[in-house]
Amino acid sequence: MSSVPAEASRAADRAAAANAAMLEVRDLTVTYALERGTVTAVDRVSLDVEPREFVGIVGESGCGKSTLLFAIANLLGGPAAITGGSVLFKGRSLVGLTDSQLAAVRWKDLSVVMQSAMNALNPVMSIGAQFKDAMRAHGTTSRQEIADRSAEVLKMVGIDPAHLKSYPHQLSGGMRQRSMIAMAMLFTPDLIIMDEPTSALDVVAQRSLMAQIKDLQEQFGFAVVFVTHDMSLVSHYSDRLMVMYAGQVAELGRTRDVFDDPLHPYSAGLLEAFPSIRGPKVRLTGIPGSPPDLSREYESCRFAPRCPQVMERCKTTPPDLYQVEGRLVRCLLHEDGRNSAVAEGAAAPAAEDVRSEP
């Protein structure tokens, strides 16, 4: 048994809640078919999400974090398509289903909050009408019921229900974002997927929205997968954190662990990129350079050109995901960590207990 004590207590927690993870993403790969060739935006990413869990996904622009989200929700379009892997939500596979097959799961069990509410709300329909058609699509037809529930969720996020009659352009940025969250709450789903919902907001509005999300989550017990480029934003809210780089998982572990002791040089670099508002002033360096071209194949570590701890081997050997004390990290520095390399696709610590058995 390779589990450490923390792992055991986690497993016990989970056994109490449910047997399998609510969301199981395995080796998910997303490819963009472009004229110049294909770009693998998401490369064999695996992730489990438990009920009531808050998982943060961080990374720079172009790292595939949003693509991953939309692939999970099966909302890819245009040139992007899932070319490998699976997504199991409450035991049901979501990959390859048509929109009408997915309709039963969508919104009732799994809802989405997007980055810019201005673009994600239909500009020619009032907020109330957009709530209504979501409810009617899932069988709620009573006008009274629809009106009551719409008002209720809007109140939950602190907006006067009178705004059901408003059109998106009549609301402020913060209110639009809140009403998106209210809409995601209509059926109190098991999982809400959020794609940088606060990135268009100012710090104060951002903080209050985060507090609100956490509040609602504690109250209603849904799980959250939260994508952001701002690592510090999720530091106090997420249970686990996944750091993505160039389409791959760089590091995955409990948020506190990643912040206190980042294993991947990239995670460490990201943490170092934020000046602090308190404490002594220290000179920071950030991470010089830019992310790699994803239309190429790599026979090396993708982070090697920017890595301050780069070794000769990094330039010839693409690292696997290695398990280190209940954490996963894609870095050769940890190749001979306490645990042997785990097979791709067994990302969730829980599942490893069984599968990584030699």
Partner: protein
């Protein structure tokens, strides 16, 4: 509301510009055609016809250009277009009134039909991205949009009238019939309208299909469409309430804007089919140097286009809450 008022102001201005063009064009052209025409008519034509011509050009002998212009504006505003030279002694107004229903029936109906049909096809083509329809339609309609209006009329006459003799090649109805409200007469009118309507439909529908398809494709990539999918809405609802409704808004104005072009096509089609509408009348006036009639028809067509654009503006304001609050 304010938005509509502003548009109304713009149209009055445009109308004034058209009237002014009408007044100054014949004077400012090289050789001052207005005077040349008058000189030509002074001899043989009877005095009242000459007077009609003077009204048409706004020429009141020996007045300054300014007072001539003011007088002309007054005449137009009070609906005095003078007497037709070709249909003498009918008044211009009378002649036009006879022609209007034909054009309204033929061009009005086909234009709206082409817009609805074309938009519908465009919506479906974009929705079924990558389907057979979406790969065949765009190149086809790019080519049909380059067909000269009149030539497609000629080809229809060649095939369906000369060769197959299914439809008549000219006139609005069988000249042996006496216009009446009977079923047989109406049937005859429709029978005569089929070829010209087809010619108009073929040449105009392509633009609508293409513009609608293209805006629809762009709209389909919007976040709110993705959001609608995430909400699990039925496809039909996403297609109409989310994608099409947003995609059609810019096209409404475009539709109105291009009516000016459609009218041009309609004139040629009427001409080819000897269809007794406004366009045919305009060309008859041109060929017979009936300037009062020509100028009045030009203004009439302008007004008609402006009214249509105004209607499209109102529709936009109704369907787009953003316009309403901006206004």
């Amino acid at each position: 509301m304010r938005f509509i008022l502003r548009r109304l102001g713009f149209f009055i201005l445009t109308l004034w510009a058209a009237v002014t063009l009408n007044f100054f064009l014949p004077r400012l052209m090289p050789g001052n055609p207005a005077l040349a025409m008058l000189a030509k008519f002074r001899g043989p034509v009877n005095p009242s016809a000459l007077k009609a011509l003077e009204v048409a050009f706004g020429v009141k002998t020996h007045q300054s250009l300014i007072s001539q212009y003011v007088g002309y504006l007054g005449d137009i505003a009070t609906g005095k277009f003078g007497t037709s030279l070709y249909f003498y002694p009918e008044s211009v107004g009378r002649v036009i009134l006879d022609a209007i229903p034909w054009t309204l029936g033929l061009v009005g109906v086909t234009t709206i039909l082409a817009f609805l049909l074309g938009t519908g096809v465009g919506i479906v083509a974009a929705w079924r991205r990558g389907g057979a329809m979406d790969s065949i339609l765009p190149p086809t309609f790019v080519i049909t949009s380059a067909i000269p209006y009149f030539w497609i009329g000629l080809m229809l006459i060649l095939i369906f009238s000369e060769k197959l003799t299914w439809f008549p090649s000219s006139n609005g109805y069988d000249v042996t019939l006496i216009p009446s409200a009977t079923g047989s007469f109406v049937g005859n009118v429709l029978w005569h309208a089929i070829l010209p309507a087809a010619a108009l439909l073929i040449t105009t529908i392509g633009t609508w299909v293409l513009t609608m398809r293209n805006t629809m494709v762009t709209t389909l990539a919007e976040d709110y469409v993705r959001m609608a999918r995430a909400k699990g809405l039925p496809g039909r609802r996403i297609m109409f309430d989310y994608a099409a409704r947003n995609a059609i808004l810019p096209n409404l104005t475009g539709f109105a804007m291009s009516l000016g072009f459609v009218v041009g096509g309609a004139i040629l089609v009427e001409y080819v089919f000897n269809y007794p509408g406004v366009g045919y009348m305009l060309l008859q006036a041109v060929n017979n140097e009936d300037y009062p009639l020509m100028q009045a028809l030009f203004l009439l067509i302008t007004v008609a286009v402006l009214v249509a654009i105004l209607m499209a503006d109102i529709a936009t304001a109704v369907f787009d809450p953003r316009t309403r609050s901006r206004g």
